[in-house]
């Protein structure tokens, strides 16, 4: 497009300005995590005088961060796996078989995207208590799986429908069972869609703060986001350690983003655009 040089430079300035506003707080967080608290108070904007890892040592002394980290990894990985298994089975059934109730089933699952499930937290809490799952990581795993099912089914069903049937039919002629067809023939072709489902649900379960806030009180079962709540509650004066905690809890996601930024951005919007 042809534009005046003024227009173009105006565009660049605006785009750059807001990019800095997006980035600066995150950079500030990382930089501050290498400064002792006293330096943050006296000189909040400067670069650290020397890289100071004691903030991290202190953080690890004050809260069982490695336990939080392990819990977060376990919860996210298991719930993503459960979502992949349950929704690829269900979506395969919805997309590939033509029983009259399939559309109803699809609709029932899709309704879940409109349900603000946080509002059902009281019955959920009582249910989890009844199942003996409060203070268990499984309460979170089951919740994240349930929450991820609607959107994942939408994405996978859409993808299944665009795939040609010939390969499956050929496999069926050879006498392969439905499960074998799904596992050996269909799923390998579905990698992009499965990747999208993985990313969306991984971010969701890694970052969620609401459900562990309600279900988990045992310090040793906390995930990183609620762990941050304990850190800020008890050590709110030690800003060096606070920034270190924030940085450390965001780092895994930031690293994954830099490895696969395109997939992240496409994945998260794919869910919404459908």
């Amino acid at each position: 497009m042809k534009q005046s040089i003024w227009m173009k430079s105006f565009y660049y300035i605006v785009a750059f300005l807001f990019a800095s506003i997006s980035l600066y707080p995150i950079i500030l967080m990382i930089v501050s995590s290498f400064k002792p608290t006293i330096e943050i108070f006296t000189n909040p904007l400067s670069l650290p005088k020397s890289f100071h890892f004691q903030t991290y040592e202190k953080l690890l002394d004050q809260v069982p961060f490695m336990t939080y980290f392990y819990n977060s990894v376990f919860v996210s990985v298991v719930s993503v796996l459960l979502i992949l298994i349950t929704t690829s089975l269900a979506a395969f059934y919805i997309a590939r078989y033509t029983y009259w109730w399939n559309n109803i089933l699809f609709f029932v699952f899709l309704m879940g995207m409109m349900i603000p499930i946080k509002l059902g937290i009281v019955p959920l809490f009582i249910l989890m208590k009844g199942l003996g799952l409060t203070n268990s990581l499984w309460s979170l795993i089951l919740m994240y799986t349930a929450q991820g099912i609607p959107l994942s089914i939408l994405i996978l069903t859409g993808f299944f429908r665009t795939m040609p049937m010939e390969l499956e039919e050929a496999a069926r002629m050879d006498g392969a069972s439905d499960l074998r067809i799904l596992w050996n023939v269909v799923l390998p072709l579905m990698r992009p869609a499965l990747g999208t489902v993985m990313i969306i649900n991984f971010i969701q379960s890694w970052n969620d703060f609401f459900f562990p806030l309600i279900f988990i009180t045992n310090e040793m079962k906390k995930t990183i986001p609620v762990g941050m709540l304990s850190l800020f509650g008890e050590y709110s004066a030690d800003w060096g350690a606070l920034f270190a905690g924030l940085t450390l809890s965001s780092l895994p996601m930031l690293i994954l983003f830099f490895i696969a930024s395109k997939q992240f951005m496409e994945g998260l919007t794919a869910g919404a655009v459908k």
Partner: protein, 316 residues
């Protein structure tokens, strides 16, 4: 020979039937988990709202009593409308600031400026943080004594702008909403950008040959075709504004400090359900009534809006 073939086909038929039966197991695990942890709690919340509660013990059936109290009994009704107003403001400001800005920035990126990929990444980065991290990080930045924002303001010579952003009831809610905009901007940009990119190139080219440019091009040619993505962002922003909880909780606690000036319906609901609305006691009946009201409000408005937009789309 004849019989062998016959038995073969019978066997095959039998196998086929078995296969058909097995396939119905496929959706069961998803349906079970979804039913137990999404559908059941919702239905249960509706029934809970018709009962009186002591702690987490269900007492007598009271009909619509909880709903009546929610809207007529003080302090509950006052808190409800106070929080409701904040949710409305949350929605309006996010629509104007976050989505308006995102639309414009997406338009800029769509002009094929250099570094578009890097810009997109920069805008998107905040979305990767946990909301609790966003809340705590900004709480530190906004701290009136040691926070970076006031230091930056004085370096820019804007001494008079310095404020206790979160401590002052006049600015606290707005500050939280703007932090939410910071968090959601990149996502909105990507949605709008996908919208721009889905406009057929030939159409833009043809319009340009007819002499359309700049704002005319945007308004007459692109705007109608952007409607689907505008609609998506409006619905998502609506749902998210009326569910707003985490950021307020992280930055101002479950009381919506200062003086409930940042209270939202979901935070109020949390207080009713888990204690702290009036003293320490929980009010599960009232909380469930509030949950049902909020749920119906979100669903009805979303459905009406989607319906309205669909009609408009057909007209265009």
């Amino acid at each position: 020979m004849q019989t062998m073939i016959q038995t073969e086909t019978v066997k095959q038929k039998k196998r086929k039937k078995q296969k058909r039966w097995g396939i119905h197991l496929f959706p069961i695990p998803a349906l079970f988990i979804y039913g137990l942890f999404i559908v059941y709690p919702l239905v249960a919340a509706i029934t809970y709202s018709f009962y009186d509660w002591k702690g987490i013990q269900k007492q007598a059936f009271v009909g619509l009593e909880n709903y009546k109290n929610l809207f007529t009994l003080e302090p509950f009704s006052g808190m409800f409308w106070n929080a409701f107003g904040h949710n409305v403001l949350y929605f309006v400001v996010q629509m104007v600031v976050q989505n308006g800005l995102a639309f414009f920035l997406a338009f800029i990126i769509f002009q094929k400026i250099r570094g578009a990929e890097l810009l997109k990444m920069a805008y998107f980065l905040p979305r990767l943080l946990s909301v609790i991290v966003v809340g705590f990080l900004w709480k530190l930045i906004l701290n009136p004594n040691f926070g970076a924002l006031n230091v930056i303001l004085s370096k820019l010579g804007l001494e008079s702008w310095k404020k206790a952003w979160l401590g002052d009831p006049d600015t606290a809610l707005m500050t939280i909403i703007l932090v939410n905009c910071w968090f959601g901007l990149g996502f909105a940009i990507l949605i709008f950008l996908a919208g721009f990119q889905s406009i057929p190139k030939e159409l833009i080219e043809a319009a340009r040959l007819d002499g359309a440019k700049g704002l005319t091009m945007l308004r007459r040619i692109m705007m109608p075709l952007m409607m689907p993505s505008i609609m998506i962002m409006t619905v998502l922003t609506f749902i998210q504004s009326f569910e707003a909880f985490e950021l307020v909780y992280a930055m101002q606690g479950s009381q919506g400090e200062p003086y409930r000036s940042t209270d939202t319906l979901a935070v109020y609901f949390y207080r009713l359900a888990f204690g702290g609305a009036t003293g320490d006691s929980t009010a599960i009946g009232l909380g469930s009534a509030l949950a049902v009201v909020l749920f119906l409000f979100i669903c009805v408005f979303t459905a009406l809006f989607l319906n309205y937009m669909k009609k408009k789309e057909v007209e265009m």
